[in-house]
Amino acid sequence: MNSLLARFPVRLLIGLAAPALLIGWWQWQASAHIVSFAPPAAVGSALVEMLRSGDLLRDTLSTLARAFTGLAIGAPLGVALGIAMGIWKPVDRVLGPLLHALRQVPMIGWLPLMGLWFGVGEGTELIVVSMSAFFPSMLNSHAGVAEVERRYLEVGSILRFGTVQRIRFILLPAAMPLVLTGITQALAFAWIATIGTELLTGAGSGLGVAMGQAQMQQRLDVMLVVIGATAALGFVINHLFRRLRRSALRWQPSLP
């Protein structure tokens, strides 16, 4: 049995069995005329329709733009603040408790408050996405600097490093892996927050907005196309970032 499972075609066949069963069940449900249960074939035609009209491309691009703009705002702030908190303890003492308190609130839970302050629109969406990117970058960068190995610091003190040299040659390189981990996490969080805020506010265009509209129009086929696009994009982005992280850390001999 196990030797049979080691062969790729066999694995592929077995792996496809569960999705095939699922699609078969779905076809059966759809043909039993259950309301709003579009048959599997309808998803294909919805995909073609959405590709042809350009809706899918527009929604995808604006979701990507929102997620990466949020990342571009939140992650550098988080990295800078996290490193500053790791290097200068007074900064940590003053800001740490506040940031850790703010962090406890589910990010999407900020939406009503931000909606009241800035109106329910694209600005609010971007703020919440940026906040979602901020916290993982901040926490990981802080940990990266704060948990630098003692012996590195000892070498620095033997070489009589000044503050700038210690930061430049010891703390920053040592913190790099965790900083990049933080940014990778920030990307994942920003991506989820983008879909969530788009879905909840319904402002502008984007995959989340399209999902919300599909729900209101009871278009299961459109919804599944959008969910599929979300999954594929999330997978590709995470994969790309992991490769980027690995190539940025080539110089590190042993990396998990």
């Binding site: 077995i14 569960a18 290097i87 940590d92 408790p97």
Partner: protein
């Protein structure tokens, strides 16, 4: 995190000596200072009350809602959904993770579908679930259950796969039956990973529940905030932010406490 940072003499150079944990007072002072600055900013009219309510106003809203029983109802409903949905999702996730970890056939058959679905943020399933389940209680329980299911299944899978092979060989030597194998070897060996999975999925479930309540609910913390927004009751919204943050914090801390208690034997 802050206490770990204090273990290293980073700021003062290698000669600065050790510093141990920050005293709790030190952590509280900046927060109190912030609350005071917030109160003063509101009292001096820097922010009009339509924009920012002072901490005293938020406290009053909390007291009022407690006296009318409204707050208890929202918190109770949210926690009930969290408990039931989480229990369903976590148990199902554990069972699923155990099955695909123990059987190569089950893994080959189910893990591709599982891994594909796992790429989708749980929140993206919300509109589809609203279509099928409506916006009532089953929908919210299902959202929480799904949010808990995935991390739980992965943690259980990793935990069981991480059990050293020779432990199974020992079990074979002792001719342990399956129930015994599970009770004597698998359970103790996988407890740490499963507890970490429980903590992660608990906090995720809470986040997703608040989002689902914001979208569609007649009660719960999320709905309380959303109603506050629609009625321009900024004190209610701020109270909701605080309560949801506090609940998230307590869930995380509680799970960490259980985790450290239950895995104490490993250090010995």
């Amino acid at each position: 995190m802050a206490s770990r940072a204090a273990d290293f003499p980073v700021a003062g150079g290698a000669g600065a000596g050790f510093r141990f944990r920050l005293p709790p007072v030190g952590a509280v002072v900046p927060l109190v200072a912030l609350l005071m600055a917030w109160q003063i900013a509101c009292l001096t009219g820097l922010f009009p009350p339509q924009v920012l309510v002072p901490p005293s106003g938020v406290a009053r809203a909390l007291v009022d809602m407690t006296q009318s029983g409204e707050l208890q109802r929202h918190v109770g409903d949210s926690l009930f959904r969290l408990t039931v949905g989480f229990a369903i999702g976590a148990v199902a996730g554990m069972a699923f993770g155990a099955v695909i970890a123990l059987s190569r056939l089950a893994e080959a058959a189910l893990s591709p579908l599982f891994m594909t679905l796992w790429q989708v943020p749980v929140i993206a399933f919300v509109p589809m679930m609203v279509m099928f389940l409506g916006i009532d209680e089953p929908f919210k329980l299902a959202v929480v259950a799904i949010a808990a299911f995935f991390p739980m299944a992965l943690a259980t899978f990793d935990g069981i796969r991480g059990v050293p092979r020779n432990w199974f060989e020992v079990a074979k030597v002792y001719r342990l039956r399956l129930p015994q194998l599970i009770r004597r070897i698998l359970l103790p060996a996988t407890v740490p990973a499963v507890l970490t999975g429980l903590r992660v999925s608990l906090t995720r479930a809470w986040v997703v529940l608040v989002a689902a309540e914001l979208l569609a609910a007649d009660s719960g913390i999320g709905q309380m905030m959303e109603m506050g927004r629609q009625l321009f009751q900024i004190d209610v919204v701020l109270a909701g932010v605080m309560v949801s943050g506090l609940i998230g914090f307590l869930l995380d801390r509680g799970a960490r406490w259980v985790e450290s208690r239950a895995t104490r034997w490993r250090a010995a």
